[in-house]
Symmetry: C3
Subunit: 218 residues, 3 copies
């Protein structure tokens, strides 16, 4: 007996990916709303957050076409999402929405990191470059969002583990492939490590050890 097509692993992955893109886009949307950008700004910042990390990775690796060129439907989806949000979202929805999206965001970080690292490995990049590309894929959408919104990027300044989860997830993938773990399993491991670390850090309120050079030690 064969499972029906819409239940396949590939469909499940697409659904998870859509949830991740949605989570990233919503974080851009809420940031744009807080800065009181206009309709154009809301769409651009949401789009940068959702697709910016993968686009920087592809520019650095000189890969074409971009994800959002090959599957231009995502751009339409993003546009629809922004219009819907601007029509129906109110201030009292913003914070609960962001809180609710933290979990898909953690999954998205895992997916994007594993995906970006594997693409770079397939292009023959050295391990540390591949891990860096995974981190860029996962975290630089948010960095672009914050630069356009004229803020210091949260990923670099809030002392909560984000890119560093991607760092460990990327190395998990590199290690698994070096040990000849099958592709699907090593991807799953990388996603599990990245997302698990991020979820654990959020759950226990873990913060990165501070480097506070101003401490009075002189």
């Amino acid at each position: 007996m064969v499972a029906p097509g819409w239940l396949s692993l590939s469909n499940a992955l697409t659904a998870i990916e859509a949830a991740a893109v949605l989570a990233f886009a919503l974080s851009g949307l809420v940031a744009a709303a807080r800065k009181r950008l206009d309709a154009v700004g809301v769409c651009v910042v949401a789009g940068l957050t959702a697709f910016g990390g993968g686009t920087i990775r592809d520019v650095l690796l000189d890969r074409r076409p971009f994800f959002w060129v090959e599957h231009a439907g995502w751009l339409w989806g993003l546009l629809a999402l922004c219009i819907l949000a601007m029509t129906f979202m109110r201030a009292r929805h913003l914070s609960p929405t962001l809180r609710a999206m933290q979990w898909p965001d953690a999954v998205g970080l895992g997916l994007f990191t594993a995906n970006g690292t594997q693409i770079a490995l397939a292009e023959g990049m050295p391990s540390i470059v591949a891990v860096l590309m995974g981190m860029i894929t996962g975290a630089f959408g948010g960095v672009l969002r914050d630069i356009v919104c004229n803020e210091i990027p949260t990923a670099f300044s809030d002392h909560r583990p984000y890119a560093i989860c991607a760092f460990f997830g990327g190395w998990t993938l590199v290690g698994a492939q070096a040990l000849q773990v099958p592709d699907g399993l090593s991807l799953l491991l990388a996603i599990a490590v990245t997302t698990g670390l991020r979820a654990w850090a959020m759950a226990v309120g873990f913060t990165l050890p501070r480097w506070d050079p101003e401490e009075p030690d002189a």
Copy 2:
């Protein structure tokens, strides 16, 4: 009887393009002056505003050489413009200059949008990607200018239609080409729609519908 060479359509287009680049460069120049950048900053910001949008488009489409590499004379012209401006412009010139440049800027937006959209269509991009490339060509020079000047990009935050005029102009070009309107005419239509919308919006003081999620509706 043949019109003299310097009266040809191609020369007219080059003249309009020069006026548009001039308008963009001047807007960068005035922004740099307001932030009290030094001579190097003035030149760089003027150059980013004038050539940045087309350069981002070309990097995304993986096209080389850039406009300003193929016609390096534009870089000399920009340098001369900045030196002249720094020699002769005074505070009392800044605002009138910016106001006077609004109309060439609107024409420049139309030209750059039509040009960028057509280049992307010629590279086989999907319609929405081509329109996006047109918007980037027209509006992202100003976005780079504002990021370097440490401001939230005006194009995303002043609630005046700018990139959205490029959006409609780009779709005009896509539609005209789908209806097999000849190339020259469809370009002219796209320029007319973009520039016309922008000029109309400036004339009547139209603002984009606000998304103000903070309104007291709870």
Copy 3:
């Protein structure tokens, strides 16, 4: 009698280059510390400062692999540097470190400028584009650092000659190659002019002529 291998010119150049990358990375590190970024932000900003200029140049010239992909050891070195700095540096070290690094920084500016200009000339770029690429290689790492740290780039706003030294150094290389000066000598000349100008400007406290359009001349 032959000099031992580790005394060769190439080794000397590598040592100077390492000092320059170190100087650039440290300036990023200190900027990140002042903004109180977390460990991830410190590493990213240090890396952007050290490798960002050359990476932008390579993206614009469509060159691959990047320096830090071909020699991935530099990424490990950077990571080690950041961890060491975060472990051992204290507030009272920051300013003296920056002051001490001004001289390697000036040498780095010269090296990166000469290198970037020559690469662009070898790709057949027009002279002014090659000079621009040299300036980008030397100065845009710091520009990226300041954009991420949410500041107006120092290179554009502190009225001290930096990019402009690279400008003259780049033209020195272009001129020397036009006069068929041998490659090694013209590179040395370009480095000497760039670094010399920068060192001289620092020594005498030279500032760029101001463009102050607000002066009361009306």
